[in-house]
């Protein structure tokens, strides 16, 4: 999850209402009339910053092409979109009949959508509690290892699974914990009966979370390790001199030092609350049934991509983005209230 994704996800809500946006703008200007930044002429600023601009250009272009331009496609959420109308993809977009909020109406009346919604929110909430803190704990643990060689080794081993695809991760779990896996055979060899780990809908939540932890906890740790490295070592030394124990040092120095990063990642995670991934749930869908494994992403896939009902899927995606945006804004507001900068801040 990167800032860029969060912004792009939020960006999809932008398209439908330019008038409302422009209405908001004058109000803001009225409140704060003096714009200090523009004192240096544009040309001078260009001359001064051209190197920085050149450096940011590729990323900007990427953002534009792959995140902002596709936002236009969201218009199909308001259409009875027919990809084969007209004689090109653009003209299909222009000539598909406009049906207003018909797709949204159908979506909100669809109990299957709300099932997927509840599953997604449950999984996110569960992972927020049981997954989000793990990389922090791992980072703090690893940070206390003194040998740099050992630290580098553990770090590499821990983040390697991040590069495995979900197919591989699930196959790995299958080979280890499945009915024909290592654990089951060991239990049988000892005369026991293996239990269903991978096909129990009731414990699916724990299963997907442990898969996510196995895959991504090491990767998530890296950001926190970097943040830990930024904390002034003198603070530890001084507090140790003042008689602070290990726990007090962690509570008063380490965790406050990490707080900006924790808050930032928490906000971004919340913005992404309705995306829990696709492959992981798609692959294990038959194993535990739709009741447990249907999340918004798989819902969109089966109801939209697989059936060619693109407008419906776009409506679901737009709804997801709107919720994400609200969550980001709320979480950011909260961050400001507790004195953090959050993802963005006012001048």
């Amino acid at each position: 999850m990167s800032t860029r994704e969060a912004i792009a996800a939020a960006g999809s809500a932008d398209h439908p209402t330019p008038p409302a946006a422009s209405a908001a703008a004058p109000r803001r200007r009225a409140r704060r009339p003096t714009v200090v930044r523009n004192r240096v002429p544009l040309r001078a600023r260009l001359r001064r910053d051209w190197a920085l601009l050149a450096m940011v250009a590729p990323a900007g272009l990427l953002l534009l092409v792959f995140h902002y331009l596709p936002v236009i496609g969201n218009v199909v959420a308001f259409q009875d979109y027919d990809p084969y109308a007209g004689n090109s993809a653009i003209s299909a977009l222009l000539s598909s009949p406009w049906i207003g909020f018909g797709n949204f109406q159908a979506l909100f009346a669809d109990p299957a959508f709300w099932d997927a919604f509840v599953n997604t929110v449950t999984i996110t909430a569960f992972q927020l509690v049981f997954f989000f803190p793990i990389p922090i704990a791992l980072a703090i643990l690893l940070h206390s290892v003194l040998s740099p060689k050992l630290r580098a080794f553990v770090q590499t081993v821990a983040y390697l699974p991040h590069f495995f695809s979900w197919v591989l991760v699930i196959t790995f779990f299958l080979q280890m914990l499945g009915g024909d896996g290592l654990l089951a055979h060991a239990i049988r060899a000892l005369g026991g009966t293996p239990w269903n780990i991978l096909t129990n809908p009731d414990t699916f939540l724990v299963l997907v979370t442990s898969q996510a932890v196995w895959k991504d906890a090491g990767w998530g740790m890296i950001v926190f390790l970097a943040a830990l490295a930024m904390i002034d070592i003198n603070l530890y030394e001084q507090s140790a001199v003042d008689g602070a124990g290990r726990w007090r040092r962690m509570w008063h120095i380490t965790l406050p030092g990490l707080r900006p990063v924790i808050v930032l990642l928490l906000i971004l995670r919340l913005g992404d609350a309705l995306s829990v991934g696709f492959e992981q749930y798609y692959l294990q869908r038959d194993a535990v049934g739709r009741g447990a494994a249907e999340v918004i992403d798989t819902f969109v896939y089966y109801q939209s991509i697989a059936t060619g009902n693109y407008g419906y899927g776009a409506a679901a995606g737009l709804f997801k983005a709107a919720i994400g945006l609200v969550l980001i804004l709320a979480a950011n507001k909260f961050a400001h209230l507790i004195g953090e900068r959050g993802v963005y801040s006012k001048l």
């Binding site: 409302a20 024909d180 900006p260 194993a287 801040s345 006012k346």
Partner: protein, 559 residues
């Protein structure tokens, strides 16, 4: 650590404020729903039996080899047991006129073959064609996803292969064909097809299936067998255990119980629910429809036969006879499980048989695959689902111009040369000495042959169905035709034969949710009694709409 983000944060401020307003408008959607319309349904049927001026004329093709010696009962194609003499070339000049490289997309199941630059087989065939074909080979398991994506993006190659079982999953196929592919009617209808003698020999039913919106949009790859599915078993392993294949539904359960031994890592089945449905005589026409006792269309799940089949399959799952990998993940490779003896029975297309036998007998000594003859679970004659659909269709990109289209058709024609021609030998076996060695009983593929040949040209063409000899598996043709002839009398009659159906949008959208619910029942996550509720939901969610469509097609049939 906070600096990089903090610096970027201020620049995004305005943008995010702007978005806030947009989000508010979306949130108000519920209030504005007064002015919204529902998505339209695009249901239609086309009766190809009554079409005129669209279908190509059937012109028989004479080849120099003697007639096949293993005779199939119609619609089973006959086959050769020995390599015939007198194989000659039937297409004297190269079909290509040196045009640009032809881009084609085809499916492959298993390992993808090397690309054009590193593939001597492709190079050899391309040299004969005069215009090279460059294949983009895609995973057959996820081919439908790929198809949907390229169709939706309107970005299709010159020649596109679409397997028939994937085409039925593509929504708005008629609009897609009209928008993206060349209408081949002017090139092939009636006598026009005589310019392409190999294609002119295709059975008419195959062409009937290639019609969308009353026009001919594809070259079919005629089916070489009328069965969608068979239950295969490892005869070698069953023999070793002193067991025989099941002939009744109770024996199936019994054998399943005897061969399942988790301690040894052996289970009986993969997901055999489709076969079980056949044993219980569940209707299977048009992907699960039949006629009820009152003559009205009835969906498979609504029949008492289906309920019995689901009950049996639930019993099989409950008894733990299905391999846990198959139960635990969509990604499980059940072919691999069968090959390694971790399962004994597997349901699959007939196409699996010869290829797996030829390859695995080199690896596992005594490896023997055989089909279980279909039986009736409830007495009387068995019911065998039929399938007259072509294997695949080849579509030509729209708007390439007459010269290019005739060139592409000539290339397809060349690739459609039937068994008994030197063109077919090159297409099916590659280059002698490289991809195969000639034995008394015919060509035997080398390792390079197995690696480089993956039916590439097969999937952009078709052929008059006849079984060529299989030197690697000499008894295969006789076994196949014995099985097929025995099953042929029991093939289900399709009430809608020759009628192409475009399903209502609501019905299509509910295919997966419906099968999810059935999966829940079969795997014991929901009780069997829930089936009635599922049927009710099915009727409300497009089921009755589809039924009306089918009933209407029956009434109008032949008019």
């Amino acid at each position: 650590m906070t600096q990089p983000w903090a610096g970027a944060a201020t620049n995004r401020r305005h943008f995010l404020t702007l978005l806030g307003a947009g989000a508010a408008a979306v949130g108000a959607g519920g209030l504005l729903s007064g002015c919204s319309k529902a998505v339209s349904s695009r249901a239609a049927t086309t009766d190809t039996n009554t079409l005129t001026g669209v279908l190509p004329k059937l012109i028989d093709l004479k080849v120099a080899i003697p007639a096949p010696d293993i005779v199939g009962v119609a619609p089973i194609p006959s086959a050769y047991s020995t390599w015939p003499s007198g194989i000659t070339s039937v297409i004297p000049e190269a079909p290509g006129r040196g045009g640009a490289t032809i881009k084609a997309m085809t499916p492959v199941w298993g390992t993808a073959p090397p690309g054009l630059a590193n593939n001597a087989y492709l190079q050899a065939v391309n040299a004969k064609l005069g215009t090279p074909v460059d294949f983009s080979v895609q995973d057959g398991m996820t081919y439908a996803d790929k198809l949907n994506a390229i169709l939706g993006a309107r970005d299709v190659p010159d020649l596109l292969c679409a397997p028939s079982w994937e085409v039925v999953k593509i929504p708005r196929m008629t609009s897609a064909a009209q928008a993206l592919f060349e209408d081949l009617t002017p090139y092939l209808a009636g006598d026009a097809v005589s310019a392409y003698p190999m294609m002119a020999a295709f059975p008419t039913v195959a062409w009937q299936n290639s019609v969308w919106g009353e026009r001919l949009y594809a070259v079919p790859n005629p089916t070489d067998g009328p069965f969608p599915l068979a239950l295969f078993y490892r005869k070698d392993l069953l023999d070793k255990m002193g067991l025989v294949y099941p002939k009744t539904i109770d024996e199936l359960f019994e054998v399943g119980k005897q061969v399942t031994n988790p301690g040894k890592g052996t289970w009986a089945f993969d997901d055999i629910f489709q076969m079980v449905q056949m044993y219980f005589k569940v209707p299977g026409s048009k992907d699960g429809w039949g006629l009820g006792p009152d003559g009205a269309p009835i969906r498979n799940i609504e029949t008492p036969q289906f309920k019995a089949a689901a009950e049996f399959m639930a019993k099989v799952y409950k008894a733990g006879m299905v391999h846990p990998d198959v139960v635990g993940s969509k990604g499980a490779d059940s072919k691999q499980l069968l090959q390694s003896g971790k399962i004994i029975f597997k349901s699959d297309g007939i196409g699996m048989w010869q290829g797996m036998q030829a390859e695995q007998q080199k690896i596992t000594k005594g490896f023997k695959l055989a089909p279980v003859p279909i039986f009736s679970a409830t007495g009387g004659d068995p019911l065998v689902w039929g399938d007259q659909d072509p294997i695949s269709y080849t579509f030509i990109k729209k708007g390439l111009g007459k010269d290019r289209i005739t060139e592409l058709l000539r290339v397809i024609n060349w690739c459609s040369a039937p068994f008994g021609t030197s063109e077919a030998v090159l297409r099916d076996y590659g280059v002698e000495g490289k991809h195969y060695t000639m034995s008394a009983s015919g060509p035997v593929k080398t390792d390079l042959g197995f690696k480089e040949l993956q039916n590439q040209y097969f999937f952009i063409s078709g052929r008059r169905p006849v079984g060529g000899p299989q030197p690697a598996t000499p008894t295969y043709n006789a076994e196949l035709i014995t099985y097929s002839n025995a099953m042929a009398p029991f093939i289900e009659k399709d009430p809608w034969v020759g009628i192409k159906i475009e399903w209502p949008a609501k019905f299509s959208a509910n295919v997966v949710p419906l099968s999810d619910k059935i999966t829940d029942i079969v795997r014991g996550r929901r009780p069997l009694s829930d089936l009635d509720a599922v049927i009710k939901e099915f009727k409300a969610n497009g089921g009755d709409e589809a039924r009306a469509l089918l009933a209407n097609a029956l009434t109008n049939k032949g008019k």
